[in-house]
């Protein structure tokens, strides 16, 4: 079974260490705007949700690429952009329903999470264990969490009447 990034938003404190670690891998600098993992801050709900590519089976980005610049790494299962082949058309960024493949204005190429070759920097950097790199048969951590947070929020603001 392949390892995947399991994200547990309840443990996230919003410290951005994952973004710092990821951007350092990408650029050699600390530059969160180039991070491939993004922490979404929901201030009113006091919730913080790191979010990145979960290497979905459908591989929308790979299927949309007109020049076959995206392939699957056989060791990690990660979908990988080949800079040599990518022409920077951006079709993959439109095809991805999760918004986790980006266009880099500095290199004019697409870029996305490649699991750091099997040792993801974000998971190592997380101080609270909110990001784990583990064997799992499902990478869908988001749906259940969003539903739970939303119902708690509605309950808090109007006793659930709007639900």
């Amino acid at each position: 079974m392949a390892k995947s990034l399991r994200i547990i938003p309840e443990k996230c404190t919003g410290c951005m260490q994952c973004e710092l670690a990821c951007s350092y891998v990408q650029t050699g600098m600390f530059q969160p705007s180039r991070s491939l993992i993004r922490v979404n801050i929901f201030d009113e709900q006091a919730s913080y949700a790191p979010y990145t590519c979960f290497q979905c089976d459908e591989a929308w980005c790979m299927n949309a690429c007109p020049v076959n610049a995206i392939h699957i790494d056989t060791d990690t299962g990660a979908k990988i952009v080949s800079d040599a082949n990518c022409v920077g058309c951006g079709l993959c960024t439109i095809a991805c329903p999760f918004g986790t493949i980006f266009y880099n204005p500095d290199t004019h190429k697409a870029f996305k999470c490649d699991l750091c070759g099997g040792e993801p920097g974000c998971a190592s950097a997380c101080p609270t264990g909110a990001i784990e790199f583990v064997e799992s048969d499902s990478a869908d951590w988001l749906g259940g969490w969003a539903e739970k947070v939303n119902s708690a929020y509605l309950e808090a603001i109007d006793g659930g009447k709007a639900a």
Partner: protein, 614 residues
Amino acid sequence: MNTGGWTGVVLRIDLTTGRIVKEPLNMEWAKTYVGGRGLAAKYLYEEMDPAADPLGPANKLIFATGPMTGTNASTSSRFTVVTKGALTGAITTSNSGGTWGPELKFAGYDLLIFEGKAPRPSFIWIYNDEVEIRDAGHLWGKTVWETDDEIREEVGVHDSVVSCIGPAGENLVRFACIVNDRHRAAGRSGVGAVMGSKNLKAVAVRGTGGVSIANSAAFMNAMWVMKKKIAEHPICGQGLAAYGTAVLVNVINESGALPTNNHLLSQLEDADNISGETLAATRLVSNKACFGCTMACGRVSHLPGEAQDKFMVTTRPHNWRIAVEGPEYENAWAMGADCGINDLDALIKANALCNELGMDPISFGATLAAAMELYEKSVIGDAQTGMPFKFGSGDALVAMAEATAYRDGFGHELAEGSKRMTAKFGHPEFFMGVRGQEFPAYDARAIQGMGLGYATSNRGACHLKSYTVAPEILGIPTKMDPAVTEGKAEITKIFQDATSTVDSTGLCIFLTFGVGLEEMQPQLAAVTGVNYTVNSLLQAGERIWNLERMWNQKAGFTGKDDTLPKRLLEEPIPEGPTKGQVNRLHEMLPEYYKLRGWTPDGVPTNERLAALGL
């Protein structure tokens, strides 16, 4: 270009003329004063007349990051606001976290210097190289959270970060603060009033650049060593995340050092009601980190419906029904114990109002405490206050939090701070503070070293400039007896110098519960490429301390201001475990001056200044 932690650029904005200049950072000063607090103090010293009116256009307002700000070192969020304090008339160095400081670095600037006064309410929008002065007429009068929302919508950049003042800053409340990221504040000495006096409502920033470091391999190694130490430390790794700073309420109360009822007492009845443990058990939603912080001491708390409606105010914080940040230890003390209040819900509500209206809860709470003493001793009555000001009144606390920010009714008197207010009503001896700034949450009669630290603090009474509570109460790094004065001059000097350096790096002073300059030095040397040693960093701190002292001398302060209120020097604590104690400042101050290389009148000698390169 790799500039070693610093971006190498200063952004200077003359609000009077609208002139915006990007100038190279003085790298000699950067290396000598590190960054943040120290570097900004150097700019202020070189550029500004310290005798200027703090609320006039000649005052300058500097936002300063450090070389570590924005890196992945733990607690890399910090920036410092340096200016002449509206509350004190002294140089002030107010530190804040959140994400605003790193964002300024990512936009490409180490320092942001404001001069003059805008002809009309304005805000600044910084998007990397693009810097604009925009009209803020439609934002004037808006609360912090409204301003944050409206500016981010107006500039149309979701990830922009806002630092702004609320109504308190606009109304020149002497202890107004500058709030960034909605809940984080450069809190003390009235930096928000200075910003308000310049007609400057907000500074919004978005930066997409990065922070480079000089020696990556050495930095990454040192960074991991420190993070591991922090994670394994009982306070940094566990206590602060679980209970926040308010874990101190019970500790300090049991030590007989929690000033209560404007320092008339040193213990609060049922203090556990407002402790970090009670907050965690009853009102805490989550903890929260500033940018880069692996400790995450921030509190996000929530009030159930009945508790929200218990206290009447007309301002309806528009989203705080869900979650608000705080209260922290200092707020819980100032608005709690110092006012004799042990109602956690009143504290949460008043704290939310301070956040949203942009006001320092320490000085607000302590000023209200002095007003309560005036009321209890019949100096003022309902005719002035409009409501009973009994010690313990949560109703007065919440109502005045709002009234003070708007200068409504008696709030107009409170807005002047405790020193001016008590003098106006003929009882200056009820002012509990130094250099016009109210004390924080430790009774200097019970903790001798804190008395010396308060008396000599350049920005007025402050717990963050020499936190000798660590050795005297908590036993960090080693236990000292809080009741004795021996050794306190020496530890105070070392703590003041080391803290000056930490404040200048861009890291958080809370790190020093678990690590010291020994752990920071390898990171700082690797980030900057400067051959810093622990000794040279400690000397940088001493240089900064002396520079601030010299600035204050030019502003009119002398050694005579290095003192404490009569209550702490002559009126013994009446009951509890510290009964009978006073602060024996006279046993410490001469030794402190000597260790500093100052004259018996507290003036830095030319020899000492020369040795420090001043």
